[in-house]
């Protein structure tokens, strides 16, 4: 766990680049906050599990937490890119399922490299289609990607009834090998996250993504090709999803039609992104916070498993945590909105007095 923590959040969001200085410090809070929350939850979990007579800070457990973060982490990092741009992707779950099937079937008959390329090509195509539907047909992203999810689902259900394909042992090493107690797949997640962090924070495309998500109209008037930006964001997201599919295929040893849907990667990834402090409306947030959100969710999961809490009760707590966290993030806004309202009321009262 510590490995992730030192790698990902080190440069938290670079407040320097985010303009209007006033009040911006508070907004960086979610990124720092979610990592602090993850740390706090780890600590509390440690104490609670120890009180329960168990061992929380074991190597096996840390490995498990990291392992569980990888798939959701890859999807959520991609999801951050689209949400930043003011869009959304609900098709990720079915794309994962289809990705594992394509990967496993290609590996059964051909080479691993072909399979990886095939999955990435499929993902890029789906992302491109999503982006084109959102920008070209001007269908709201919610409906466009939901429609894409239905299309993929129909294709999967029509062609597959159960697990299919076979992943060779050489590729399964991605899912099972580790360095020390750190699974190698975590390095895949870190690599993808770093690439996305660089793209969003250090490239022109990234700045355009923030601008488009913040105010599409203003961005276009300032010369940003907003359509192209949205399309790129969707392609980036789907490529991340493809990586998640490859990881899951190596974990499962085969392709499975329920690989993405059973764990609800669509809604869970959105929840992780929002937990990480990215605004659902776009334009604010980033990859670093998302990783914190993912870690928070998987630490919670691990604690519940250790305490052998009913899995259904886990969902209840998950829902409460998500709502509570976002309510906490909204607090600065609430205070500011209140201050603004009061200022306006005072102003109006003054005007009234003058008149």
């Amino acid at each position: 766990m510590t490995a992730v923590r030192t790698d990902a959040p080190a440069p938290p969001a670079g407040p320097r680049r985010r303009l209007p200085a006033a009040g911006r410090l508070k907004i960086t809070d979610p990124v720092v906050g979610v990592w602090l929350a993850a740390a706090a939850v780890t600590l509390i979990g440690w104490i609670v599990v120890a009180a329960d007579g168990g061992q929380f800070m074991t190597q096996a457990n840390a490995t498990g937490i990291l392992q569980n973060s990888v798939a959701l982490g890859l999807v959520a990092v991609g999801q951050s890119a689209v949400i930043l741009t003011g869009s959304l992707d609900l098709s990720v779950a079915y794309l994962i399922s289809l990705g594992t099937l394509v990967a496993a079937e290609t590996m059964e008959g051909g080479s691993v490299v072909t399979a990886v390329l095939a999955v990435l090509a499929l993902s890029a195509a789906v992302g491109l289609a999503n982006g084109l539907i959102v920008t070209g047909l001007k269908v709201n992203a919610f409906i466009a990607t939901l429609g894409m999810a239905f299309i993929l689902r129909g294709y999967i259900e029509d062609n597959y009834t159960g697990p299919s394909g076979d992943v060779p042992a050489s590729f399964q090493r991605l899912g099972y090998d580790r360095v020390g107690f750190v699974p190698v797949s975590v390095f895949l997640l870190i690599a993808v996250a770093v690439v996305l962090w660089l793209i969003t924070k250090r490239t022109r495309l990234g700045h355009h993504m923030y601008a488009t998500g913040g105010d599409e109209h203003a961005a276009r008037l300032s010369g940003v090709r907003t359509r192209r930006t949205v399309i790129y964001a969707h392609v980036l997201c789907s490529l991340c999803v493809g990586a998640a599919a490859l990881f899951l295929a190596s974990r499962l040893g085969a392709g499975a039609p329920w690989a993405g849907t059973e764990a609800r990667y669509d809604l869970d990834s959105i929840a992780a992104v929002v937990l990480g402090g990215t605004a659902l409306a776009g334009g604010r947030g980033g990859v670093a916070g998302t990783l914190g959100g993912v870690l928070l969710l998987s630490v919670l999961d691990s604690i519940f498993n250790q305490l052998s809490v009913d899995p259904f009760f886990k969902n209840v707590v998950r829902g409460v945590v998500i709502i509570a966290a976002v309510a906490l993030y909204a607090r600065p806004f609430r205070r500011r909105a209140k201050a603004r309202d009061e200022a306006r009321a005072a102003e109006e009262a003054e005007k009234g007095a003058l008149a």
Binding site: A271, N315, G319
Partner: protein, 349 residues
């Protein structure tokens, strides 16, 4: 800039085109959905000549009723600028809770149980609304969390597999007919439709639309925005509970009763030309969207499209229908067109 544009626009807006635009405006953003519904109903008539026999048509309406009611509730939330993703979970929870309740009190009167479920649904909506308006959590997240909580709670409570049998008296509302002919579900559907139309014409509806269009402007004009938004969630929750009663009667107890219904309801509302983000669209069109979706499912069944491919066709049609609506006369493109003259005016002057 604004002073230069008006002289140029009126010539374009006069003549027969204006009358056409006027008619289109009266139908609102929902115009395409009526065309879609007519096409689907015509296709159904061709595929199945017996479709318009009163009995089979009423059966179709009966099957559509839960989705139509959900769409009416979802419309209230969407038009005020939110989402309600919790309705599917409310349906599941309602069905399972009803069965569990009858497991403990087999002799409870059905009216009381139904009223209790409606109240519970309204309370869920109230919680959604308060979290969204008081704690300022985006409604997408609020209702997503509520969905996790409700589903988790229902399964935790029932240990994963809901037990219990619903008595005939309770199921009668979902599967039976009033006076031997007209299904109760159709009556419920009509009642909800009438109530929704009345609400949208009353002050509540006007303030709801104003809130969804621009909540700051609405607030400055004296609308109590939090209250209006919360009421929309309460209505959506109650509508979901009513749908739960119908579904429980129609298809019995199942832990999957409400699965995916939230997305179907949102799809139906959007098919009806209602803009996600709020402020535009009519509730009748939203309900017509639900009918269209149900007609589409029926048609695909009759055409023998294999069950699995059904969702592919559904996805394509939804995207195309919404896409046509958006690039046609409605949706964001209209917003853009309204804005673009000013930007052109700026560049040319």
């Amino acid at each position: 800039m604004t002073t230069t544009t008006p002289p140029s626009t009126p010539p374009a807006g006069t003549g027969p085109a204006a009358a056409f635009v006027g008619a289109g405006r009266r139908l609102g953003t929902g115009a395409p959905v009526y065309v879609l519904l007519a096409v689907l109903l015509a296709a159904l008539a061709i595929t199945d000549p017996g479709f318009y026999e009163p009995d089979s048509f009423l059966a179709f309406v009966k099957r559509a009723a839960p989705l139509v009611i959900l769409a009416a509730g979802q419309y209230m939330v969407i038009v005020s600028g939110g989402f309600d993703l919790s309705v599917g979970a409310v349906v599941t929870a309602g069905v399972v809770a009803g069965a569990e309740f009858y497991g403990s009190y087999p002799d409870a009167p059905w009216l009381l149980v139904t009223a209790g479920l409606l109240l519970a649904g309204a309370i869920v909506g109230l919680v959604n609304g308060l979290i969204t308006t008081v704690l300022l959590v985006p409604s997408f997240i609020t209702t997503l969390g509520m969905m996790l909580i409700l589903e988790g709670a229902v399964f935790y409570w029932t240990g994963g597999s809901p037990q219990g049998v619903l008595p005939e008296s309770f199921r009668e509302f979902g599967r039976g007919e009033a006076g031997g002919r007209l299904p109760w579900a159709v009556l419920a559907c009509l009642a909800v439709g009438a109530l929704a139309v009345w609400l949208m014409r009353a002050d509540f509806g006007r303030t709801l639309l104003a809130t969804g269009d621009n909540d700051r402007a609405a607030a400055l004009a004296g609308v109590r925005v939090p209250r209006v938004r919360t009421l929309a969630f309460v209505l959506s929750g109650a509508a979901a509970a009513l749908a739960a009663v119908l579904i429980a009667g129609f298809s019995g107890v199942s832990a999957q009763a409400g699965r995916g219904l939230e997305f179907e309801a949102i799809t139906a509302v959007v098919l009806g030309g209602v803009i996600l983000g709020g402020g535009r669209g009519s509730v009748v069109a939203a309900m017509a969207g639900a009918f269209s979706l149900q007609a589409l499912f029926t048609l695909l069944n009759l055409q023998g499209v294999s069950g699995a491919l059904e969702s592919t066709v559904q996805g394509i049609i939804v995207i195309v229908a919404v896409g046509l609506g958006a690039t046609g006369s409605s949706g964001f493109s209209r917003l853009r067109r309204r804005r673009s003259p000013s930007s052109e005016g700026k560049s040319s002057s």
